[in-house]
Amino acid sequence: MRSGPGSSTTPLHLVPDDERSDDERSIARIAAGDADALGELYDRYGRVVFGVVLRIVDSPEAAEEVAQDVFHAVWRRADTYRRERGSLKGWLLSISRNAAIDWRRTKGRHVATEETTDGAELIADMDVAESAVVNARAEGVRLAVAALPPETRQALALAYWMGLSQSEIAAKTGVPLGTVKSRIRSAMQRLRARLGDEEERW
Protein backbone atom coordinates (compact mmCIF):
# COMPACT_ATOMS: atom_id res chain seq x y z
CA MET A 1 0.00 0.00 0.00
CA ARG A 2 1.40 3.31 -0.96
CA SER A 3 1.67 6.12 1.51
CA GLY A 4 1.47 9.87 1.08
CA PRO A 5 -1.47 12.08 0.27
CA GLY A 6 -3.61 9.18 -0.88
CA SER A 7 -3.21 7.25 2.32
CA SER A 8 -6.37 7.17 4.35
CA THR A 9 -4.45 7.45 7.57
CA THR A 10 -2.51 10.63 6.84
CA PRO A 11 -4.16 13.81 8.13
CA LEU A 12 -3.93 16.55 5.56
CA HIS A 13 -1.79 18.85 7.65
CA LEU A 14 0.85 16.11 7.97
CA VAL A 15 1.17 15.57 4.23
CA PRO A 16 4.37 17.27 3.08
CA ASP A 17 3.53 20.49 1.30
CA ASP A 18 5.07 19.52 -2.03
CA GLU A 19 2.90 16.41 -2.19
CA ARG A 20 -0.32 18.31 -1.86
CA SER A 21 -2.38 19.44 -4.80
CA ASP A 22 -3.35 23.10 -5.19
CA ASP A 23 -6.79 22.21 -3.86
CA GLU A 24 -5.38 20.58 -0.75
CA ARG A 25 -3.12 23.53 -0.09
CA SER A 26 -6.04 25.91 -0.51
CA ILE A 27 -8.36 24.06 1.82
CA ALA A 28 -5.65 23.73 4.47
CA ARG A 29 -5.08 27.50 4.33
CA ILE A 30 -8.81 28.17 4.44
CA ALA A 31 -9.16 25.88 7.46
CA ALA A 32 -6.41 27.91 9.11
CA GLY A 33 -8.47 31.08 8.62
CA ASP A 34 -6.78 32.56 5.53
CA ALA A 35 -9.50 34.51 3.72
CA ASP A 36 -7.23 35.19 0.73
CA ALA A 37 -7.09 31.46 0.10
CA LEU A 38 -10.88 31.46 -0.05
CA GLY A 39 -10.65 34.20 -2.68
CA GLU A 40 -8.24 32.07 -4.70
CA LEU A 41 -10.56 29.08 -4.48
CA TYR A 42 -13.31 31.37 -5.70
CA ASP A 43 -11.14 32.40 -8.64
CA ARG A 44 -10.75 28.76 -9.62
CA TYR A 45 -14.27 27.51 -9.05
CA GLY A 46 -16.61 30.49 -8.64
CA ARG A 47 -17.92 30.22 -12.22
CA VAL A 48 -18.73 26.54 -11.87
CA VAL A 49 -20.40 26.97 -8.48
CA PHE A 50 -22.42 29.92 -9.73
CA GLY A 51 -23.40 28.09 -12.92
CA VAL A 52 -24.55 24.96 -11.11
CA VAL A 53 -26.52 26.94 -8.56
CA LEU A 54 -28.10 29.12 -11.25
CA ARG A 55 -29.14 26.05 -13.20
CA ILE A 56 -30.95 24.70 -10.15
CA VAL A 57 -32.49 27.81 -8.59
CA ASP A 58 -33.25 29.44 -11.95
CA SER A 59 -32.92 33.04 -10.77
CA PRO A 60 -29.73 35.13 -11.03
CA GLU A 61 -30.48 36.99 -7.79
CA ALA A 62 -31.07 33.80 -5.83
CA ALA A 63 -28.05 32.17 -7.46
CA GLU A 64 -25.84 35.01 -6.27
CA GLU A 65 -27.10 34.62 -2.71
CA VAL A 66 -26.86 30.83 -2.69
CA ALA A 67 -23.41 30.74 -4.34
CA GLN A 68 -22.14 33.15 -1.67
CA ASP A 69 -23.58 30.86 0.98
CA VAL A 70 -21.72 27.96 -0.63
CA PHE A 71 -18.37 29.70 -0.28
CA HIS A 72 -19.23 30.74 3.23
CA ALA A 73 -20.03 27.12 4.05
CA VAL A 74 -16.60 26.18 2.68
CA TRP A 75 -15.08 28.81 4.95
CA ARG A 76 -16.89 27.54 8.02
CA ARG A 77 -16.51 23.86 7.32
CA ALA A 78 -13.04 23.70 5.78
CA ASP A 79 -11.72 21.89 8.84
CA THR A 80 -14.25 19.09 8.34
CA TYR A 81 -13.14 18.34 4.78
CA ARG A 82 -11.51 14.91 4.60
CA ARG A 83 -9.41 13.96 1.64
CA GLU A 84 -10.28 10.29 2.13
CA ARG A 85 -13.95 10.93 1.44
CA GLY A 86 -13.29 12.27 -2.03
CA SER A 87 -11.89 15.19 -3.98
CA LEU A 88 -12.29 18.82 -2.98
CA LYS A 89 -14.14 19.47 -6.23
CA GLY A 90 -16.54 16.65 -5.36
CA TRP A 91 -17.08 18.18 -1.93
CA LEU A 92 -17.59 21.65 -3.34
CA LEU A 93 -20.02 20.35 -5.94
CA SER A 94 -22.07 18.51 -3.37
CA ILE A 95 -22.26 21.60 -1.13
CA SER A 96 -23.34 23.65 -4.16
CA ARG A 97 -25.99 21.20 -5.31
CA ASN A 98 -27.32 20.66 -1.79
CA ALA A 99 -27.56 24.38 -1.07
CA ALA A 100 -29.29 25.10 -4.37
CA ILE A 101 -31.67 22.16 -4.12
CA ASP A 102 -32.46 23.10 -0.54
CA TRP A 103 -33.21 26.66 -1.63
CA ARG A 104 -35.41 25.39 -4.41
CA ARG A 105 -37.37 23.12 -2.10
CA THR A 106 -37.96 25.74 0.55
CA LYS A 107 -38.12 29.04 -1.34
CA GLY A 108 -38.38 28.21 -5.01
CA ARG A 109 -41.30 29.78 -6.82
CA HIS A 110 -41.29 27.02 -9.39
CA VAL A 111 -42.26 24.16 -7.14
CA ALA A 112 -44.43 22.98 -9.98
CA THR A 113 -41.42 22.60 -12.25
CA GLU A 114 -40.38 19.51 -10.45
CA GLU A 115 -43.66 17.90 -11.37
CA THR A 116 -43.90 19.09 -14.93
CA THR A 117 -40.36 19.15 -16.24
CA ASP A 118 -39.15 16.19 -18.12
CA GLY A 119 -35.86 15.91 -16.29
CA ALA A 120 -34.17 15.01 -19.53
CA GLU A 121 -34.51 18.52 -20.89
CA LEU A 122 -32.74 19.99 -17.97
CA ILE A 123 -29.52 18.40 -18.91
CA ALA A 124 -29.88 17.82 -22.64
CA ASP A 125 -30.24 21.47 -23.44
CA MET A 126 -27.44 22.62 -21.27
CA ASP A 127 -26.60 25.85 -22.93
CA VAL A 128 -23.40 25.81 -24.79
CA ALA A 129 -22.78 28.98 -22.89
CA GLU A 130 -22.55 32.40 -24.45
CA SER A 131 -18.85 32.45 -25.22
CA ALA A 132 -18.76 29.62 -27.72
CA VAL A 133 -15.00 29.84 -28.07
CA VAL A 134 -14.26 28.49 -24.60
CA ASN A 135 -16.81 25.89 -24.97
CA ALA A 136 -15.61 23.04 -27.04
CA ARG A 137 -15.33 21.27 -23.72
CA ALA A 138 -18.89 22.09 -22.72
CA GLU A 139 -20.07 21.04 -26.16
CA GLY A 140 -18.36 17.69 -25.64
CA VAL A 141 -20.30 17.23 -22.41
CA ARG A 142 -23.54 18.27 -24.03
CA LEU A 143 -23.07 15.76 -26.84
CA ALA A 144 -22.14 13.01 -24.40
CA VAL A 145 -25.28 13.69 -22.36
CA ALA A 146 -27.43 13.89 -25.49
CA ALA A 147 -26.09 10.51 -26.60
CA LEU A 148 -27.50 8.80 -23.51
CA PRO A 149 -30.77 6.90 -23.95
CA PRO A 150 -33.61 9.25 -22.89
CA GLU A 151 -34.71 7.25 -19.85
CA THR A 152 -31.13 7.02 -18.63
CA ARG A 153 -30.70 10.74 -19.10
CA GLN A 154 -33.89 11.43 -17.22
CA ALA A 155 -32.82 9.32 -14.24
CA LEU A 156 -29.48 11.14 -14.16
CA ALA A 157 -31.12 14.56 -14.41
CA LEU A 158 -33.55 13.82 -11.58
CA ALA A 159 -30.66 12.79 -9.36
CA TYR A 160 -28.17 15.42 -10.42
CA TRP A 161 -30.29 18.54 -10.85
CA MET A 162 -33.29 17.72 -8.67
CA GLY A 163 -31.36 16.01 -5.90
CA LEU A 164 -33.67 13.02 -5.78
CA SER A 165 -32.40 9.74 -4.36
CA GLN A 166 -32.77 6.58 -6.39
CA SER A 167 -35.78 5.47 -4.32
CA GLU A 168 -37.42 8.85 -4.81
CA ILE A 169 -36.84 8.62 -8.54
CA ALA A 170 -38.41 5.17 -8.56
CA ALA A 171 -41.43 6.46 -6.62
CA LYS A 172 -41.78 9.52 -8.82
CA THR A 173 -41.43 7.84 -12.19
CA GLY A 174 -42.99 4.48 -11.37
CA VAL A 175 -39.87 2.72 -12.64
CA PRO A 176 -38.64 -0.21 -10.48
CA LEU A 177 -35.82 0.73 -8.12
CA GLY A 178 -33.45 -1.83 -9.63
CA THR A 179 -33.93 -0.28 -13.06
CA VAL A 180 -33.34 3.21 -11.70
CA LYS A 181 -30.12 2.04 -10.08
CA SER A 182 -28.82 0.46 -13.25
CA ARG A 183 -29.73 3.57 -15.27
CA ILE A 184 -27.86 5.90 -12.92
CA ARG A 185 -24.87 3.61 -12.94
CA SER A 186 -24.93 3.26 -16.70
CA ALA A 187 -25.29 7.03 -17.21
CA MET A 188 -22.26 7.78 -15.08
CA GLN A 189 -20.21 4.96 -16.59
CA ARG A 190 -20.94 6.08 -20.14
CA LEU A 191 -20.19 9.72 -19.43
CA ARG A 192 -17.06 8.80 -17.58
CA ALA A 193 -15.82 6.63 -20.44
CA ARG A 194 -16.68 9.16 -23.10
CA LEU A 195 -15.44 12.27 -21.32
CA GLY A 196 -12.36 10.45 -20.08
CA ASP A 197 -11.43 9.56 -23.65
CA GLU A 198 -11.77 13.15 -24.68
CA GLU A 199 -9.55 14.20 -21.87
CA GLU A 200 -6.75 12.08 -23.27
CA ARG A 201 -7.06 13.59 -26.72
CA TRP A 202 -7.03 17.09 -25.31
Partner: protein, 231 residues
Amino acid sequence: MTHPTDELAAYSIGALEEREAEIVAAHVRTCEECRAEVEAYQETAWRLAEAVAGEPPSRMRAAVVERARAARPVRGRTVLSGWAELFRRPIPAFVPAALVLALVVSLAAYAGSRRDADRFAAAVAGVASGRVVSLAPSAELAQARGVLVQPPNGAPYLILDIPAAPPGKTWEAWVIRGEQPIAAGLSDGSGVAILTLTIPLRSGDVVAITLERAGGTGLPTSNPVLTGKST
Protein backbone atom coordinates in the same frame (compact mmCIF):
# COMPACT_ATOMS: atom_id res chain seq x y z
CA MET B 1 -15.03 -6.78 2.90
CA THR B 2 -16.82 -6.80 -0.44
CA HIS B 3 -16.52 -3.61 -2.43
CA PRO B 4 -19.72 -1.61 -3.00
CA THR B 5 -18.72 -1.25 -6.66
CA ASP B 6 -22.27 -0.97 -7.99
CA GLU B 7 -23.13 1.84 -5.61
CA LEU B 8 -20.17 4.10 -6.27
CA ALA B 9 -21.60 6.01 -9.24
CA ALA B 10 -24.81 6.86 -7.38
CA TYR B 11 -22.81 7.66 -4.24
CA SER B 12 -20.67 10.12 -6.18
CA ILE B 13 -23.68 12.20 -7.18
CA GLY B 14 -25.46 11.89 -3.83
CA ALA B 15 -28.24 9.65 -5.11
CA LEU B 16 -28.03 6.96 -2.42
CA GLU B 17 -30.36 6.85 0.56
CA GLU B 18 -28.78 8.31 3.67
CA ARG B 19 -28.14 4.90 5.25
CA GLU B 20 -26.63 3.41 2.10
CA ALA B 21 -24.46 6.48 1.65
CA GLU B 22 -23.11 6.13 5.19
CA ILE B 23 -22.14 2.54 4.56
CA VAL B 24 -20.38 3.41 1.31
CA ALA B 25 -18.68 6.41 2.93
CA ALA B 26 -17.31 4.21 5.70
CA HIS B 27 -15.93 1.79 3.14
CA VAL B 28 -14.45 4.47 0.91
CA ARG B 29 -12.61 6.00 3.84
CA THR B 30 -10.47 2.89 4.14
CA CYS B 31 -10.43 1.48 0.60
CA GLU B 32 -8.12 3.26 -1.82
CA GLU B 33 -9.42 1.34 -4.78
CA CYS B 34 -13.03 2.42 -4.26
CA ARG B 35 -11.95 5.93 -3.39
CA ALA B 36 -10.18 6.18 -6.74
CA GLU B 37 -13.42 5.06 -8.41
CA VAL B 38 -15.40 7.68 -6.49
CA GLU B 39 -12.93 10.37 -7.47
CA ALA B 40 -13.19 9.37 -11.12
CA TYR B 41 -16.99 9.63 -10.96
CA GLN B 42 -16.71 12.92 -9.07
CA GLU B 43 -14.53 14.18 -11.90
CA THR B 44 -17.27 13.19 -14.36
CA ALA B 45 -19.87 14.95 -12.20
CA TRP B 46 -17.61 18.00 -12.16
CA ARG B 47 -17.41 17.96 -15.96
CA LEU B 48 -21.21 18.20 -16.07
CA ALA B 49 -20.99 21.13 -13.70
CA GLU B 50 -18.30 22.86 -15.77
CA ALA B 51 -20.52 22.65 -18.80
CA VAL B 52 -23.03 25.00 -17.16
CA ALA B 53 -20.43 27.38 -15.66
CA GLY B 54 -21.53 30.98 -15.79
CA GLU B 55 -20.17 34.41 -15.02
CA PRO B 56 -21.19 35.55 -11.55
CA PRO B 57 -21.61 39.28 -10.87
CA SER B 58 -18.17 40.82 -10.39
CA ARG B 59 -19.05 42.05 -6.88
CA MET B 60 -19.35 38.49 -5.67
CA ARG B 61 -15.68 37.76 -5.06
CA ALA B 62 -15.25 40.67 -2.69
CA ALA B 63 -18.52 39.78 -0.95
CA VAL B 64 -17.32 36.21 -0.36
CA VAL B 65 -13.97 37.30 1.06
CA GLU B 66 -15.44 40.11 3.17
CA ARG B 67 -18.04 37.84 4.66
CA ALA B 68 -15.36 35.31 5.55
CA ARG B 69 -13.25 38.01 7.23
CA ALA B 70 -16.23 39.24 9.19
CA ALA B 71 -17.01 35.74 10.41
CA ARG B 72 -13.63 35.14 11.98
CA PRO B 73 -12.46 33.33 13.95
CA VAL B 74 -13.41 30.04 12.38
CA ARG B 75 -11.86 28.03 15.19
CA GLY B 76 -12.82 28.28 18.84
CA ARG B 77 -16.32 29.38 17.97
CA THR B 78 -18.45 30.54 20.83
CA VAL B 79 -21.67 28.74 21.52
CA LEU B 80 -23.50 31.77 20.27
CA SER B 81 -21.97 31.59 16.81
CA GLY B 82 -22.75 27.89 16.90
CA TRP B 83 -26.37 28.87 17.22
CA ALA B 84 -26.18 31.45 14.53
CA GLU B 85 -24.68 28.79 12.35
CA LEU B 86 -27.54 26.46 13.06
CA PHE B 87 -29.83 28.73 11.12
CA ARG B 88 -27.67 28.62 8.03
CA ARG B 89 -27.18 24.89 7.94
CA PRO B 90 -29.28 23.32 5.22
CA ILE B 91 -32.03 21.35 6.92
CA PRO B 92 -33.55 18.47 4.99
CA ALA B 93 -37.05 19.37 3.90
CA PHE B 94 -38.00 15.86 2.95
CA VAL B 95 -37.95 12.54 4.75
CA PRO B 96 -35.57 9.85 3.62
CA ALA B 97 -38.13 7.07 3.76
CA ALA B 98 -35.58 4.40 4.62
CA LEU B 99 -34.49 6.30 7.73
CA VAL B 100 -38.01 6.69 9.07
CA LEU B 101 -38.79 3.07 8.36
CA ALA B 102 -35.63 1.89 10.11
CA LEU B 103 -36.43 3.98 13.17
CA VAL B 104 -40.01 2.86 13.32
CA VAL B 105 -39.00 -0.77 13.00
CA SER B 106 -36.47 -0.47 15.81
CA LEU B 107 -39.03 1.45 17.82
CA ALA B 108 -41.59 -1.30 17.35
CA ALA B 109 -39.05 -3.94 18.38
CA TYR B 110 -38.12 -1.88 21.41
CA ALA B 111 -41.72 -1.32 22.42
CA GLY B 112 -42.37 -5.02 22.97
CA SER B 113 -39.86 -5.13 25.79
CA ARG B 114 -41.06 -2.11 27.69
CA ARG B 115 -43.67 -1.41 30.30
CA ASP B 116 -44.82 1.68 28.47
CA ALA B 117 -45.48 -0.39 25.34
CA ASP B 118 -48.78 1.40 24.80
CA ARG B 119 -47.10 4.73 24.50
CA PHE B 120 -44.65 3.33 21.98
CA ALA B 121 -47.44 1.75 19.99
CA ALA B 122 -49.20 5.11 19.88
CA ALA B 123 -45.99 6.76 18.71
CA VAL B 124 -45.66 4.28 15.87
CA ALA B 125 -49.27 4.89 14.88
CA GLY B 126 -48.62 8.64 14.85
CA VAL B 127 -45.94 8.18 12.21
CA ALA B 128 -48.50 6.77 9.84
CA SER B 129 -50.99 9.62 10.22
CA GLY B 130 -48.80 12.60 11.10
CA ARG B 131 -46.28 14.74 9.31
CA VAL B 132 -42.78 13.35 9.70
CA VAL B 133 -39.53 15.26 9.30
CA SER B 134 -36.09 13.72 9.68
CA LEU B 135 -33.56 15.50 11.87
CA ALA B 136 -30.08 16.07 10.48
CA PRO B 137 -27.20 14.86 12.65
CA SER B 138 -24.20 17.11 13.19
CA ALA B 139 -20.74 16.01 12.15
CA GLU B 140 -19.77 15.52 15.81
CA LEU B 141 -22.42 12.86 16.42
CA ALA B 142 -23.00 11.48 12.95
CA GLN B 143 -24.56 8.27 14.25
CA ALA B 144 -27.43 10.15 15.93
CA ARG B 145 -30.85 9.52 14.41
CA GLY B 146 -34.07 11.32 14.97
CA VAL B 147 -37.39 12.17 13.45
CA LEU B 148 -39.96 14.78 14.37
CA VAL B 149 -43.56 13.55 14.24
CA GLN B 150 -46.41 16.03 14.17
CA PRO B 151 -49.60 14.01 14.62
CA PRO B 152 -52.88 15.55 13.41
CA ASN B 153 -54.08 15.72 17.03
CA GLY B 154 -51.95 15.93 20.12
CA ALA B 155 -48.47 17.02 20.98
CA PRO B 156 -45.57 16.72 18.54
CA TYR B 157 -42.84 14.29 19.59
CA LEU B 158 -39.39 13.15 18.62
CA ILE B 159 -38.27 9.59 18.07
CA LEU B 160 -34.59 9.54 18.94
CA ASP B 161 -31.84 7.01 18.58
CA ILE B 162 -28.94 8.60 20.43
CA PRO B 163 -26.37 7.36 22.93
CA ALA B 164 -27.18 7.56 26.62
CA ALA B 165 -26.36 10.98 28.06
CA PRO B 166 -23.20 10.86 30.24
CA PRO B 167 -23.65 10.96 34.04
CA GLY B 168 -24.85 14.35 35.22
CA LYS B 169 -26.05 15.25 31.71
CA THR B 170 -29.27 15.04 29.76
CA TRP B 171 -30.38 15.51 26.18
CA GLU B 172 -32.55 18.58 25.90
CA ALA B 173 -34.95 19.42 23.10
CA TRP B 174 -35.29 23.01 21.87
CA VAL B 175 -37.82 24.73 19.71
CA ILE B 176 -36.17 27.66 18.02
CA ARG B 177 -38.61 30.31 16.94
CA GLY B 178 -37.05 33.21 15.15
CA GLU B 179 -33.76 33.34 16.99
CA GLN B 180 -35.11 32.36 20.36
CA PRO B 181 -34.50 28.84 21.70
CA ILE B 182 -37.30 27.58 23.97
CA ALA B 183 -36.68 24.54 26.21
CA ALA B 184 -39.03 21.78 25.07
CA GLY B 185 -38.29 18.61 27.03
CA LEU B 186 -35.61 16.23 28.28
CA SER B 187 -34.48 12.70 27.51
CA ASP B 188 -31.69 10.54 28.84
CA GLY B 189 -31.37 8.79 25.52
CA SER B 190 -30.04 5.25 25.54
CA GLY B 191 -31.52 3.23 22.73
CA VAL B 192 -34.65 4.39 21.02
CA ALA B 193 -36.49 7.02 23.02
CA ILE B 194 -39.58 9.13 22.59
CA LEU B 195 -39.45 12.75 23.66
CA THR B 196 -42.76 14.57 23.67
CA LEU B 197 -42.30 18.28 23.08
CA THR B 198 -43.66 20.41 25.87
CA ILE B 199 -44.67 23.29 23.61
CA PRO B 200 -46.74 23.30 20.42
CA LEU B 201 -44.94 23.83 17.12
CA ARG B 202 -45.53 26.43 14.48
CA SER B 203 -44.63 26.01 10.86
CA GLY B 204 -40.99 27.00 10.30
CA ASP B 205 -39.90 26.35 13.89
CA VAL B 206 -36.54 24.62 14.13
CA VAL B 207 -36.24 21.68 16.50
CA ALA B 208 -32.82 20.82 17.92
CA ILE B 209 -31.27 18.51 20.49
CA THR B 210 -28.30 19.49 22.67
CA LEU B 211 -26.46 17.91 25.58
CA GLU B 212 -27.06 19.85 28.81
CA ARG B 213 -26.54 19.40 32.53
CA ALA B 214 -29.03 17.07 34.23
CA GLY B 215 -32.31 18.81 34.90
CA GLY B 216 -32.01 20.96 31.80
CA THR B 217 -31.09 24.60 31.28
CA GLY B 218 -32.85 27.74 30.21
CA LEU B 219 -30.62 28.31 27.18
CA PRO B 220 -28.58 25.84 25.15
CA THR B 221 -24.90 25.71 26.06
CA SER B 222 -23.63 23.26 23.47
CA ASN B 223 -23.90 22.77 19.74
CA PRO B 224 -26.91 20.80 18.53
CA VAL B 225 -26.45 17.14 17.65
CA LEU B 226 -29.72 16.92 15.71
CA THR B 227 -31.72 19.61 13.97
CA GLY B 228 -34.81 19.74 11.81
CA LYS B 229 -37.50 22.14 10.73
CA SER B 230 -41.20 21.72 11.36
CA THR B 231 -43.49 21.88 8.36
